[in-house]
Symmetry: D2
Subunit: 187 residues, 4 copies
């Protein structure tokens, strides 16, 4: 008989899986901070942490993390059949399923999230750099893209929230006759 | 040492995997025929077969098929860790990684391919219907979406080709003063 | 000098634009109801209305509606340059920018929203059917896809919410030893 | 009566539109060269030009360019209705329809094209930088993303082709007992 998995169980599995694979919420939040700091002076690390946590609440994100890290783990244990085993093991240059899986949940946060994802995928900032650098038998073909995806989504989510706050502030300012602030493009 | 897998090996693995999982090129071509026949009177089954074969030549498509059928197989053997095992086994309603993976290669064939994919995913025509109907221990959570993806892509590819041929024909007709044909929307 | 448009102004423009183009929130909610009723017995129309309203709060959705309906209006007035004018006017079969623009905001609601969008784009249910049927000089090349997009997103959003409620209910049931309900695939 | 626009007319309109908006095929090829040179020693500029030309043959790409540059032109002439006029004019930070429209045709070239697009959108290399820097009354809100899209697609297309050539070369090498070359990730 088939079992329907409660959302709570899925969420807990995702968080403990990230820990197992060596990634903390702080690691991801650090990337968000690096991406948003140039556009938002005085942005707090705690706001970045909150944004990462909110993204990790999403079913699409959770499922993608479970699938991607499972494939990484199976590749580490040599359990995939050929030629997939070799493709994942070598993080083959033209293999794109890792990006595709990660992109699925990025779209949820707007086209800015998609471009940020592309940027992170190329620049490999923070923990993404560490994951991309092979150490021992560890395989992170899917994980590095998933982390870029979560960071990009959390970054876009934060940019939208900060804009909303800025507008509320500007509205108050307008009433008092103060000059309006604006927010730069490229968030 | 890491091995770079030659494209030929990947392609052969995909074709034999489809056979293993019970899907023939004819099965997929039949869906393409059903989708295109209303818009293209006199369309040939062989043209549908050729279009499916051309789509199966694409690296993105091949990789998605290898990944998706691997996950189905591992789920059949109970090799996935929980809760992913239960989610894939039950083809859980809000699990979307199967569609995401399949969609990645659909985009390559234009937005018409994307809407056709959505249509097939709901209507479950031909072999997709058969795969979606559980038989014994077989798990096709990923495969049904992958087949819908290949059929949608081949269908869109064919619509574009037929339009090109129609234009060439119209150009000749125009020179000879004959009336121009048009092609209907919703291909 | 450049003016930053407040979110409130954007939102109001979207709602009045929909009215101008002949689409009510009820029209869209009706499609959501038709899509969700088979999977959720006893679903209320008011829940569908709320879901449509929530989707219309999203910036990505609002911007897409402003751009798409602007292009429809400009085409009606013959203000687009050729050959775009003819392409939009005739809702040209292989023109896909209308679907692309509409898809951008659909992704935000998961891959289920994408397949529902594809389904609606083919089946043309309710107001989408009416918009797709040319009347006088009205051009709705972009609008019909945008409405399908909002309906698909609202439908997916509702399916996710109902699942959350179902889980909360099941959790209570489990404590009391009652049998668990499940939700069907294909939402 | 509605007119079906021949593909040839669409293509010519796109090429002359790019010239009108100040972008040459060389400009785009230069970006492709910058993106691919690190991974492919000895790559020729002519191969980059050919790849850009091939991407510009695609209907999805052509339609997106016609729509995007039309909106830029209408904004320059102050012909869009408010608040869209202000949003496009100011290239508003959280406006994403420009990226969405451009992304539609990028998907056709694989997930590598998508990440390259994101990278270009952030880094603004070559002509994209020039377009992004406001000069006089020129508005290029859509054009810069479209150029990034064409460059990313041409870049990905080239990477796939070069890989095919490399494999053919390796196959010959293998027969002669020579060492195989590999191609780096991140193309």
């Amino acid at each position: 008989m088939k079992r329907q998995v409660p959302s709570k169980e899925v969420k807990e599995a995702v968080l403990s899986r990230l820990v197992d694979r060596g990634v903390t919420i702080e690691d991801i939040a650090e990337i968000v901070y690096i991406m948003q700091a140039p556009y938002n002076v005085g942005i707090k690390k705690s706001a970045c942490m909150d944004s990462v946590r909110a993204v990790l609440e999403k079913r699409e994100v959770q499922h993608a993390i479970l699938v991607g890290t499972e494939l990484d783990r199976l590749a580490e244990e040599g359990m995939l059949s050929e030629p997939l085993q070799s493709i994942v093991e070598s993080d083959e240059g033209l293999f794109g399923c890792d990006e595709t899986l990660a992109l699925g949940s990025v779209f949820g946060y707007g086209s800015i999230a998609v471009t940020t994802f592309g940027h992170l995928d190329k620049q490999k900032i923070g923990v993404i750099k560490r994951l991309d650098t092979k150490q021992g038998n560890a395989i992170h073909t899917f994980l590095d893209d998933l982390i870029a995806s979560v960071a990009a989504s959390a970054s876009s989510r934060l940019a939208h929230r900060l804009r909303d706050e800025l507008e509320a502030e500007n509205e108050r300012a307008a009433k008092e006759g103060r000059i309006q602030k604006t927010q730069d493009k490229n968030n």
